[in-house]
Symmetry: D2
Subunit: 345 residues, 4 copies
């Protein structure tokens, strides 16, 4: 099968290239980056010399439809929603790594993204691509809205306990910590090396566009409106995301019991690993891989549960999950092309 | 006046040296490190060549009492409590950067530090050295228990709102993030460069010895028992600490009103800076200095308040605060020797 | 085919595991780490949870010979030379990532490694595993001495111009810069995060054991004794090595001509990439991959040539090259299992 | 005395502010940044909140002359040469941290900086501000051209041996390694955190504008034309510069003898520290301070000398040296305001 990647000059697009090059069933046919059209990929990205020998293309939906089976969008907000309706009509599977098709609630996308909403007709077709919770819907989707990085780490960490009703979702406090690749390839003073290095900072407190995404999925999964407290931080490393979640327990459970339940909950999901009691995950343990590692700790003093989940924000938080979704949609083994070990050290 | 430093081969001790060298009223007379006794300081720490020309001494309370006016202990748990009783009897001011004299509650020290309690008679004399809340007691103390880094950042950030009763202390969730100097100079696999670099990790969840310290001060300040949820993380930078605190508001206040109140609360405290609305602090903004920067954000969706406080863990979180305490005790201007700008970049 | 890895609790051993897991023709059968014998690999290395499910074994040559086709040694100096003679007699291919079998000159190994020499009989069988120069010998070897990281980067960068006699080898000055994984997993104050981070340092000036290795290969390739000036530095990153080489040109050549010559020289070698004129390589461009990128710059003012070569010290500088050697020895395509793209960013 | 700083929104300007705030004889009167004129300094640089309470000014030579005794220019190439002629005529001491007045040779500035030369009449007045070699000229100068960072580290390291004629200057090879603050505050893809972190790279090989500066000083000091081979690299840390210099010895000297000679050579220079035999300097050992640490190693195999010199590029490589020059010019103790210890860790 053949794939096209739109927005390949960003980090998620580059990561898609890295994964798909190692995928046994997929060939990268077309790499779209309008600003670099007709330039060889290796001129912009010398690390791909001798590996990717094609040129960047400009965006042409008809051409894409003629040539590829699946198009990945790794584009800024507001871009994919212009082309995906056409591509879907032309019968091409679209997997959108941007936020354009994630929010279904009326007015939510405009409110949080400050862009015009995508067309409702297309939005209705979008399936939320979190395989551990929407595997079946994904397997027949024509448009997959690939989750954001923070929602992936948060939902994988907290949904099992909430669905089991052992914790009170209205008390959920999430502390999100992201490496700087999450801020993208666009330059800013905040991501200038000398100011990001040896620094940690908070940003967009209570205003991050991933908040309504988490809340919509919570509502869908537990049929309840919850307002989530979510704090977002930049941490000086390139790859890696950690969400530390604290929630009030409503049942008297031990760490051991909850770990046991999580292991059973995720037993058919190859990318989720639950840490043993007394151990917590670190981001290096998943770096470069599609794993989400989850640590669990009950604090009997406060009767609160702390869940720590870590992912590589470019893998399970973006490109890796997109390929996992593609595998499911094309009937391949979920792990195909994603059996890369974490890079350690 | 003359100072002695015990435990000068650790990071807090080295930071005391750095500050006191720039202090107009103090001379460093004696530097104690039993394991390096009679070795020149610059042999172990070449960066102090031509700056510190004395040798390390072994620990001798009588000698210290004869020579210095104040002794700083920057030692591991269980060390200072062996010498401080003697030194106090000999009339020397002691400022203890370790945790030995911070916890007053019966059995608390043994429980959390796994060491024998210090003698009760001495413990009773210890004043908790958080100047913004115990300035008067400090000014006449014979023994100052210098606060831990996490408690400093947490208490400075959250006490004003709790004392004002605009927030419910039982809902306090703290997410603590520390640079690696907080883990000390002792080697471990976790602090080995290749495993700490490009990594973030959680540790000691719900078990950190700074938790009872925070709770004791809360009780002392608001006369109420509170169990605090506190998660601790290692972040890949050398210096810097951030505490992100989320708490339920009990009064309908805006960010602007709370910022205004904090500014008024801390108006006579030169090391506390409150960020303007919509801005949050970062650790580089206080690095190398004794400042604590605090950012405030009300989330009207959840009616929760987020407070972010940052310090340099070796300065306001250890050595800087110790010198601030010494200044108060000796009747000097609180800022003396501490007017170092943050290092930027 | 089946492989055994001895010394798998170091970084080169872990990297062998990462590569071989992705290799289509090899199964990892046995992982030896005497100090961890009978412990599950994932207990020591949680990042391998669900990926490597076997236990560490102790070292038993007969058992290895019964079970595997090739044994990789990723051990400290002095270890492999004790077992390899036996394994070779038992007919098992040995690939040694340590320095034990690299130096053939009498007394050289003792002098530079401060260990007893390996048995001469076995040493004579050892083939130097730099495929770009010893491909044929490798293809029939029973024992492959995998090159050191600095020699790999240096020799790949400088041998073509020296063999062509366009530069004077006696004038060669090499400035080597290594990330900290090159210093291994063993803890030391120098590799303690807080002291390695935000620091660069020189070490072992003129005394690094890779110097005689470079000189022996130079002699073998150009039949001339050369004393190389080699300075070694630790740079604060985990993976990556750069050698900056300056040498006097003896022929009046332009950068363009030399680049052209290098491209022709390496045209059949898939892991060598020569940068275009005016571009120089960086270590991130090869990180996680087996590439060696080489940049070339003639300074017409000084009539000297600067060659910059970069590798991932754990890949082309250790485990990647070892697998490349194994491929050649087993008649597989040289790139098999090594077609991993660099990790960017 | 009062100082003005032009170009205070770059890193060297900020470092001048940090130093001068701690200087007992100087008040910062005016901070010029035309693009930020009339904005409070703390709005652009929150780390200076409560510390610097004035606004940025626009550039007005007459106003500066009326208000201050010395003006520091920490501006990009081509800026200071427009104002300094006027300021000198108005009798204000000018210290220029840019390269505008460093090169005296005809056409050299245009060739290497790609800007029009400064007026010859003013250029002739410029004194090269390397105090260890031009202390007397500095003490009466009206215009001080503050050296570049690479020339400072290189010349301090190599001039003693060359002036003594124990080494052949035509064989000098310099490998320069700079932290990223050396690349300034202006954003670029190369200094974007995610691409600079975990990376090292070479740049401007043989084309760096500091090369002719080094060569001019060499000519001035030893009356001989020398072409220097100079390779420049970006290293992933914020502050710190290391120059590794290799040179052919012409006399048979030991490391010990050369160290002894260097110590004697620099005995009246408080900021130069010579490491003992077998020890080499690291950049953390001088970070935040005005020291230049120098390590020396004779390689008897090659009869070459390796000299390693390290500085904090923003201190001895820029702002610290500028203040040292001001002290000399104003008849103050050379160390005044510069007795800051290195920051460790």
């Amino acid at each position: 099968m053949k794939a096209g990647i739109v927005g390949a000059s960003g980090y998620s697009g580059l990561e898609l290239i890295r994964i798909l090059l190692n995928h046994p069933n997929i060939t990268i046919d077309t790499i779209v980056s309008p600003s670099n059209a007709e330039v060889k990929v290796e001129e912009i990205f010398p690390h791909l010399t001798d590996i990717v020998t094609i040129q960047f293309d400009s965006l042409d939906c008809q051409m894409l439809a003629n040539r590829v089976d699946v198009v990945f969008f790794a584009t800024p907000a507001g871009v994919s929603s212009e082309s995906i309706p056409t591509l879907i009509d032309l019968g091409v599977l679209c997997i959108d790594l941007s936020g354009d098709f994630r929010l279904k609630g009326e007015g939510l996308y405009e409110e949080w993204y400050k862009h015009a909403s995508p067309p409702m007709k297309t939005l209705e077709k979008a399936v939320y691509g979190l395989p551990e919770f929407y595997r079946e819907e994904i397997s027949t989707a024509t448009l997959i809205a690939n989750p954001g990085c923070y929602p992936t780490a948060t939902l994988l960490g907290i949904l099992p306990i909430i669905k089991q009703k052992w914790a009170d979702p209205t008390t959920l406090i999430v502390d999100g910590k992201s490496g700087l690749s999450g801020a993208g390839r666009k330059m800013s003073q905040v991501t200038h090396y000398t100011e990001a290095n040896e620094n940690m900072s908070a940003y967009k407190l209570g205003k991050h566009q991933h908040i309504p995404e988490i809340e919509e999925v919570l509502r869908d999964q537990i049929d309840k409106d919850v307002q989530v407290s979510f704090s977002t931080h930049l941490i000086p490393l390139t790859r890696g995301m950690m969400c530390t979640m604290v929630i009030d327990l409503t049942e008297d459970k031990t760490s051991f019991e909850i770990i046991d339940y999580y292991r059973s909950f995720y037993k058919d999901h190859p990318f989720i690993r639950i840490m043993p009691e007394g151990k917590w995950p670190n981001t290096k343990g998943v770096s470069g891989s599609n794993y989400c590692d989850i640590g669990i700790s009950v604090d009997s003093r406060t009767t609160r549960l702390t869940v720590i989940s870590v992912i590589d924000n470019l893998m399970k938080g973006a490109a890796g999950q997109a390929v996992q979704n593609m595998n499911l949609r094309f009937g391949l083994q979920e792990r195909t092309g994603l059996e890369l070990s974490p890079i350690f050290p």
